[in-house]
Homo-oligomer: 365 residues x 2
Amino acid sequence: MTTRTLFMLPGDGIGPEAMAEVSKLIAYMNSNEDAGFKTEEGLVGGSAYDAHGAAISDEDMDKAMAADAVLFGAVGGPKWDGVDYDVRPEAGLLRLRKDMELFANLRPAICYPALAAASSLKQELIEGLDILIVRELTGGVYFGEPKTITDLGNGQKRAVDSQVYDTYEIERIAGVAFELARTRSNSVCSMEKHNVMKSGVLWKEVVTATHQAKYSDVTLTHMLADAGGMQLVRQPKQFDVIVTDNLFGDMLSDVAAMLTGSLGMLPSASLGAPDAKTGSRKALYEPVHGSAPDIAGQGIANPIAMIASFAMCLRYSFSMISEADRLENAISTVLDKGIRTGDIMAEGCKQVSTSEMGDAIVNAY
Amino acid sequence: MTTRTLFMLPGDGIGPEAMAEVSKLIAYMNSNEDAGFKTEEGLVGGSAYDAHGAAISDEDMDKAMAADAVLFGAVGGPKWDGVDYDVRPEAGLLRLRKDMELFANLRPAICYPALAAASSLKQELIEGLDILIVRELTGGVYFGEPKTITDLGNGQKRAVDSQVYDTYEIERIAGVAFELARTRSNSVCSMEKHNVMKSGVLWKEVVTATHQAKYSDVTLTHMLADAGGMQLVRQPKQFDVIVTDNLFGDMLSDVAAMLTGSLGMLPSASLGAPDAKTGSRKALYEPVHGSAPDIAGQGIANPIAMIASFAMCLRYSFSMISEADRLENAISTVLDKGIRTGDIMAEGCKQVSTSEMGDAIVNAY
Ligand SMILES: CC(C)[C@H](C(=O)O)[C@@H](O)C(=O)O
Ligand SMILES: CC(C)[C@H](C(=O)O)[C@@H](O)C(=O)O
């Protein structure tokens, strides 16, 4: 039997509750399908800070590096608003991304048919939406140096962040976007601000060159990132794959996620480069939503984004394609039946708890 | 009679057509109201490049600096896609902003009642929307140094942009936002990414301190910029004034503009600091939309954003409040009557040309 190691980092807020529902699925797959998942749990974010003063410990980092895949819940909350910058909850997530070299962040923005009415957009604009945002995740302004606050005297400080991109970083993320486009509608829209940023100039140049060299069968278009935000709101279905940098990707994927009306349902995958020998790649899977401290601990959070993130894990880390498909179908089935957590409750539907939602999905799987 | 000097920079694409409709209004106000506007015209963007190889000439810069207000159309188009970075059309606009020290960019996102149905958002979410985005315009990643592309050899290049903010820059834009909030619903939401960016940390700190020191009567909230993008899509009416940095402001104001369904109608004002003696401030007014090269020269562009920008000019540069109100009402009246350019055409309305729209507004004024 294959052994598949999963390192689970539930984190803060609703993270642990959502993760518990994935554990149910794993238990089910282990006993009924000999899936061979071996899990271990660690701490990240505020809960790690409370335990040992850092947003993730070196020991847990080692475990994350060694695992076949990492499942990540959510981090942060008002409790840790005042902690030092270097040990704030987000630092744990950023260290995982950086040390594991998870440069490719895949954020599908899909609209579950049963939830199309929940979008703030008109239903016809959003029904059937299926966009994949490919966000660069280990470069840009998130990690560039210098990144400082300096006291200038006279009551003045100066804050500096640096957006830095090298050719190879753009090349490899463009490659991921083009490869994925080939499995979808074969079209990529690259977004930057070359009219203002030098990194945008290089971005456009390298994406264009990568396209010409290896992916000229894929349709490539370019859009300024601000115009991209507009177009996402105006006519989201015009897009298939969007490739963009770390900061624009952060903004644009959140806007896209909210458009679907399915924010609590959206998963993400963060992938490293495939190992030259084994083809395996480091990977972390996390919901797009945050830690929602306001509803944490009440058993009412929506676990679907976390479960859908596990479906991405099956697909991308273990090539368990039919299992991933079945799990995604199970989610749709449960939604079609009108089973809903509070955040997506609608007239005529049945409101359930986090745990009941997890059970329903396991049953439908 | 007062003399009021206006320097007009129609620019490229639909800029000149839209500006021509403002000229009609000015002529009307001069002959019927002794408004005393004295206008002069210059070149900016691609048309300036074609004439003398720069996106704006030093001579025209001098005129912009000397005028009571600058009216700006739009710049750019595929014709100039290949020109050098330093002389690209946008460089003209950026130089105007920087040299005139127009640090405060006011971007109202309002929804004209007659156009609520044109929004991609559900009508009830958007009806009555009235947000003011206050964007910092002379700092951040737009102007920070270093801003370079370096050849590293081995086919690798490195692009660097620098986001730089000093305390005083944040303080003065926060002050503008708080002052304006007092004339509206008295609430400001400040957006940054303090969880990732040092400039976000300083931003939040300085906005908070400014609030405490001088504006504690105004309600202040903070939101991460990505969450802000989401909330704009989810529930835009929760906002009154939003204050944010140059790059986030670029993205967020475009998303907000598109939400209203009234993109072709939205104006903006870019203001400098009031002169200590005279109280007058340098100012530039421009539509939020771009140069729309695809429809340029056909006489079908919507001139309303340009005309509404002139209304802002009346209000902010000349304190002609009743005239500004009348002009804004004239726009609403014309829309209520069902007079529409092609971009906002709807069933049962009358489609008119750029020039006919301008005439209708002058008549309703
Ligand atoms: C939590 C935060 C550091 C993170 C980011 O900015 O990348 C989040 O917003 C995301 O999009 O995953
Ligand atoms: C034309 C461009 C340089 C400009 C900007 O990025 O500021 C535009 O998008 C805007 O928002 O005014």
